[in-house]
């Protein structure tokens, strides 16, 4: 309480910036401003459109992860959920099937054949398929949640095992093959644009698709809807208060009558369902169900973006707006590293360093709040 009266020292000024909600937004803007003179392509409409399209699905996954980190947990199985729901969706709604590709898969003949998936041509089939994705994800989340909340197993271990088993199952279902031939209506969910911009000459009678840059897209609408909903859930509802209570001090939460088990289970379900929604966008963009979606370093992107935003790994501190800016920064980072023509290995090395820096920043922020409180 001394900060209000005393003249702010440089240290206090630094800590105030570090603790600001918009710190990562400032960081992102500064980063772009610093690199734009050297990489003019950064600010071209094509690149901005590209950055945005990469942001939306990641934002949805990271939103789910934000809830889990808020209770000092971690969900490593999100990537595997994306993969398995992608395959489930595609095998149900594909309009054609290719025996040469999928002939060896256990789903061939049972769920999908030459005439497409089980739900192809069924009215409302798309909605049923999406429902199936969400239900499958919710079940996986439920398993995670019950193992953590009821059996008291560490989230790290539980979700690591889930990741292993579920991603193996996804690969088994299609024998590691992509399932293509998805209907247009589904693909539109990942690509369809509502507002696009064309910067070319006006007298052209036919505008080639590739010079139209989409800005407001279905993924944008879906991701922002999820984020806004999550924001209200976390900040304005009784549920959100319980989440923070568990993340701040779980013993206190229990004694204070917070339904700890129910909330923890719900959080893992939310995390998995967010992954399923992102899976719709990823699969639609790829125009295929892919059992290796969300594999590799994807998980690091999710947790890295969330932590860079400012959500604490120690629990009790989380904001959806932070995650939004964290995702923005992370996508910008990936984008600029690509523009620099670095190899995939170099990109991963830089990303790793940035995530480590973010984790360090988390520790630093925790320490600053502790010290300024004295």
């Amino acid at each position: 309480m001394t900060t209000e009266t005393a003249r702010p020292s440089p240290l206090q000024r630094v800590s105030r910036i570090l603790l600001s909600d918009y710190f990562v937004l400032y960081l992102s803007l500064a980063y772009v401003a610093a690199l734009a003179p050297f990489y003019p392509v950064l600010l071209t409409p094509a690149n901005i459109s590209n950055v945005l399209s990469n942001m939306w699905p990641l934002l949805i996954v990271a939103t789910g992860q934000t809830f889990v980190l808020a209770i000092a947990g971690i969900d490593l199985s999100q990537g595997a959920v994306i993969a398995v729901t992608s395959v489930i969706c595609a095998m149900l709604i594909a309009v054609t099937g290719n025996e040469a590709v999928l002939g060896n898969a256990p789903i061939w003949g049972a769920v999908i054949d030459g005439d497409g998936g089980l739900l192809s041509g069924v009215t409302g089939g798309l909605a049923i398929a999406i429902l199936a994705m969400v239900v499958a994800a919710a079940l996986i989340g439920l398993l995670n949640g019950v193992a953590v909340a009821v059996f008291g197993m560490p989230a790290f271990m539980v979700t690591l095992v889930t990741m292993l088993v579920v991603s193996a199952f996804a690969i088994y279902l299609s024998m590691s093959e992509n399932i293509s031939g998805l209907p247009e209506a589904f693909i539109d969910l990942g690509k369809g644009d509502l507002v696009s911009v064309y910067f070319g000459a006006q007298e052209e009678s036919k505008i080639p698709r590739k010079v139209i840059y989409s800005f407001v897209t279905y993924p944008m609408v879906i991701a922002i809807a999820v984020a806004v909903f999550a924001h209200y859930l976390l900040n304005r509802t009784v549920f959100g208060r319980y989440v923070f209570a568990i993340g701040s001090n779980i013993r206190n939460a229990q004694i204070s009558g917070v339904p700890v088990r129910r909330i923890v289970v719900a959080i893992f379900v939310i995390s998995a369902v967010c992954a399923a929604i992102a899976s719709i966008l990823y699969s639609a963009r790829l125009e295929a169900g892919r059992p290796t979606l969300g594999a590799g370093t994807f998980l690091l992107d999710v947790i890295g973006a969330t932590v860079i935003g400012g959500t604490s790994l120690f629990g009790g501190k989380a904001k959806i707006i932070w995650t939004f800016f964290g995702v923005l920064f992370f996508v910008l980072l990936s984008n600029t590293l690509n523009l620099m023509n670095l190899s995939a290995f170099q990109v991963d090395m830089v990303k790793g360093a940035v995530i480590l820096a973010a984790a360090l920043l988390d520790v630093l922020r925790t320490r600053i709040t502790r010290e300024t409180a004295r």
Partner: protein, 500 residues
């Protein structure tokens, strides 16, 4: 006798706010100085300056007449100053001998000389009458009292001349406390100087030969212990006369039972413990450490299981966990405020709101009615006179111990519960706030609620309770009405098995 440690105009300010100002005092060699003061009076800052943890912003210290300006804890230890803290700084996974020698093992031909280590450790332990403790025993296996003596052994090993005790008795039993005082007397016979900081004023009065009172960072009063009755201590600490330590009880308990626990048993913890709390009653629950008081409280609140017996609240049997108990009208202030009672980093308002938050959820999405909630939390802040600025922004950890405890009580008060279980409600709370908490306890009972008050401080129960139930080793030994309160009788009941 010469002066061991002298303060000359010693001051320390944090961000311009003075914590210790202009302190002048000379600590005589081989004296025992009791230091008292409310939380935030500057005791910790002063000790941290002596210990080299923080550096003064003005004035200086002299050690045996020579300037003393420690830059680190090692500097303090080098001149011969040792601290025995409330939270002991021992490695529980190491042996007694290893704890003594942890900053440097003597070697013989490059190999640790265990024979010498064990011999010296044993001789130090003997001086503390800890003959029955082997140097090779792991500290984790010792009782809190024995651990404290090991900490003192470490000070002796380092040849400390000045030993500073900071609230050393909070986790000790009565017997262990007695033993500690005997040890302190021995240390003085050996020519050592002691500074003893405590909230337990009776102890300070009886063992010290000088007493110093800090208030708002200033030395407001000091003198010989003989001229320093507890009433003068309190007066100096708070700057006004409280007219006694306890408010008068303002109501008589009803005959209706609120809580009735019958033959609660849990192997190894509780043996057929029965307890009744009446409407408007403050029931004190007394016993030594490990008597099963807190364990009974946890069972009553549904946190721990019980194998036999029934718990009735207003005649209705209780089942399920804390959620059900809360719904039935119970509240539980645990003995570990920081670990179990608060979200330290969260705001005061969030802490106050936690228990009753679902009452502020509006359909259909349980959106929190922020306006109604903030009106209610502000009202609770005023009702409990919680000393804070903006409760929506200020974190709970910034509050003093007493105000933190008021927040914990306040979060339950928001529900207007029928039965309050208070486990050590005034632990680590300064005198002024203690009085406020006692007033609150009286008010809860006067409003028709029941209070089960657990305490290790018998005086507190004698002052506040309408009736005291004594426990020993998981059993209820008996119950004594206010009219028959007698300190010796209650202590004898608590010690039953030890004295028998």
């Amino acid at each position: 006798m010469s002066d061991l440690l002298t303060f000359e105009g010693l001051s320390k300010a944090w961000f311009g706010v003075p914590a210790v100002s202009d302190l002048d005092y000379a600590l005589r060699e081989n004296s025992l100085l009791g230091v008292i003061g409310q939380n935030g009076a500057g005791k910790s800052t002063l000790m941290n300056m002596i210990g080299g943890i923080v550096q003064p912003s003005g004035g200086r210290m002299l050690w045996r007449g020579a300037p003393y300006a420690p830059q680190s804890a090692a500097d303090a230890s080098k001149v011969g100053i040792a601290f025995i803290h409330q939270e002991l700084n021992l490695f529980t996974n190491l042996s007694v001998a290893e704890n003594l020698y942890v900053d440097g093992f003597p070697r013989k031909f490059g190999i640790i000389d265990w024979a010498a280590i064990n011999e010296r450790t044993r001789s130090i332990l003997q001086r503390l009458s800890l003959d029955d403790v082997e140097p090779s025993v792991k500290v984790g296996q010792l009782s809190p009292g024995e651990r404290q003596l090991v900490e003192i052994a470490r000070a002796l090993h380092n040849e400390a001349q000045l030993i500073i005790f900071d609230e050393p008795t909070t986790s000790l039993t009565h017997r262990e406390t007695e033993r500690l005082f005997e040890t302190i007397a021995t240390l003085r016979e050996e020519g050592r100087t002691i500074v003893y900081i405590s909230h337990i004023l009776g102890d300070v009065q009886s063992i010290s030969d000088g007493i110093a009172v800090l208030r708002d960072g200033r030395l407001v009063d000091h003198g010989a212990a003989a001229d320093f009755p507890v009433s003068r201590m309190i007066k100096s600490m708070i700057g006004r006369d409280l007219g006694g330590l306890f408010p008068p009880r303002s109501n008589q308990p009803d005959s209706d039972l609120i809580l009735s626990a019958r033959s609660i048993g849990q192997p190894g913890v509780l043996e057929k413990a029965s307890i009744d709390v009446r409407k408007g009653e403050v029931l004190g629950l007394f016993g030594l450490m490990g008597a099963g008081r807190s364990e009974l409280a946890r069972v009553l609140f549904g946190l721990d299981p019980h194998a036999t017996g029934d718990i009735l609240l207003n005649g209705q049997p209780l089942t399920g966990g804390p959620r059900n108990r809360i719904a039935a009208g119970m509240a539980f202030v645990t003995e570990n405020r920081r670990e179990e009672g608060l979200m330290l980093d969260a705001s005061i308002a969030d802490n106050l709101a936690l228990v009753s938050i679902d009452r502020f959820g509006r359909k259909p999405f349980a959106l929190v009615d922020m306006e109604a909630l903030s009106t209610r939390t502000e009202a609770m802040k005023a009702e409990l006179s919680i000393k804070a600025g903006n409760i929506a922004r200020q974190a709970a950890k910034t509050l003093s111990g007493g105000n933190q405890q008021k927040v914990v009580i306040g979060k339950w008060q928001m529900q207007s519960p029928k039965l309050f279980i208070l486990d050590e409600p005034t632990r680590g709370v300064d005198v002024g706030a203690k009085y406020e908490i006692y007033t609150l306890v009286d008010r809860i009972a006067a409003d028709g609620g029941g209070v089960l008050m657990i305490s290790s401080e018998l005086d507190e129960l004698l002052g506040m309770a309408d009736r005291i139930v004594v426990m020993n080793r998981g059993e209820v030994i008996g119950s004594v009405d206010r009219a028959d309160f007698d300190r010796e009788k209650l202590l004898a009941m608590a010690f039953r098995e030890v004295t028998a």
